[in-house]
Symmetry: C2
Subunit: 215 residues, 2 copies
DNA sequence: ATAAAAATTGAATGATTATTCAATACAAAA
DNA sequence: TTTTGTATTGAATAATCATTCAATTTTTAT
């Protein structure tokens, strides 16, 4: 069978940043398997089958199951990061519009869907016992929080809001997002993405009373 | 060795509500083991050793590992429920004082500590794949939410607050609590119980602007 | 004290699963 | 085409673990 490398124009151009098709197929299959069966029931055999490679290959390619799981979490983290980085990097956009874009992103169906959330929570649940999981999650949180605080700070200036510090608003938002994601898992009938997004908007409305865009 | 039944005054008084010492010892050991090692690494052997009974007995007593885990989650759920039920049942207490008591309870060290939280999240992470876990979690949420909404409704009346519905406030609070518990796991240095409690109080301050008890 | 019943043990069993690796298929180079 | 190196397979291995159960200890009833 032929399983070629992608990006490989010629053998000399091979580099450590090069990713094989199978590499990505296995990461995708891992995330899908965790979403469908749960982390506890995710075996190399299931993942390999879903990725349509042999069980031995999956292990060979990632050296260990542990490593495959870490790579999958890293991928998920990068994917999420890209989606909000893009919004933070947009030019000529009003801070309030920007934060609304951030909220929309956090509750978009691409980000806040039951499959993705169940995978996140699966990893979260092991964070206390796996330093490598913790490191990935913490690194992500740190940058996100930093950017959020800066953004809230701008909004506070514009609106002349002094009662609530950027840190407070940012942390409250962040915890609401995490909490609401969790509840989407429990009861997606009630916690639709619309419902969650509006709840968050309403929170901002309570802080920035005169700003109609949060209504 | 003697392993006696507790509450057993005489053999005739035996009833299905009777709980043996070993039953509780095993549930405690299960929760401790999940807290110390994570759900993925919690084996009957570990639990039995911690409870100081034989491995065979642990299985015999609960019929299966699955059943032991479900019983442990139920116990955790009951324990939490008792702590807030007590507050909801207190008489002659002002609604605002009552909700402050609820907040204090949710971030008391007995409830919001890393061990308990890691166990909750371990179960949460499997909720999508285990209907029995889901049922326990949902049942708890339902009653809690119901009581919270009623309480917020009273507060809204007293304070003449019309902008935010009881459901909105209650859901926002609930998601904040879930989210903050999660973050206590990630970074207990930053997310101390005090910090979390104050963040929530500040949220209520943003809703009930003139109420100084939330300050 | 003795017998019967119940509780508890611990070793054996069988199932599951990550990991290894010799064998094979394939691609690139000559 | 032949050779050489790399990718991939799939079956074997070894470890882990829930579950079972015959044997033993402890409790209860007589």
């Amino acid at each position: 069978m032929m399983k070629a490398l992608v990006n490989k124009k010629s053998s000399e151009q091979a580099s450590e940043t090069e990713i094989s098709v199978n590499h990505q197929k296995l990461i995708d299959a891992t995330i899908e398997t965790i979403a469908k069966r749960g982390l506890a029931d995710t075996t190399i055999a299931h993942v390999a089958k879903r990725a349509k490679v042999s069980q031995g290959y999956a292990n060979f390619r990632f050296k260990s199951k542990d490593n495959l799981l870490i790579s999958s979490l890293q991928y998920l983290s990068d994917e999420y990061k890209k989606s909000w980085q893009k919004i933070f990097e947009e030019k000529n956009i009003d801070p309030i519009d920007r934060i609304i874009r951030i909220i929309q992103n956090d509750f978009s169906s691409k980000i806040a869907n039951r499959n993705k959330i169940s995978v996140w929570i699966a990893f979260y649940s092991e964070v206390k016992f796996r330093p490598s999981y913790l490191a990935i999650c913490q690194r992500q949180d740190e940058i996100y929080s930093q950017q959020m605080e800066k953004l809230v700070s701008e909004i506070n200036n514009i609106t002349n809001q002094k009662e609530f510090t950027p840190k407070e608003v940012s942390e409250t938002y962040h915890s609401m997002v995490d909490g609401l994601w969790q509840r989407i898992l429990f009861d997606p009938k009630i916690y639709t993405n619309e419902f969650c997004k509006n709840l968050v908007l309403k929170y901002f409305k309570s802080i920035y009373v005169n700003e109609d865009r949060f209504a």
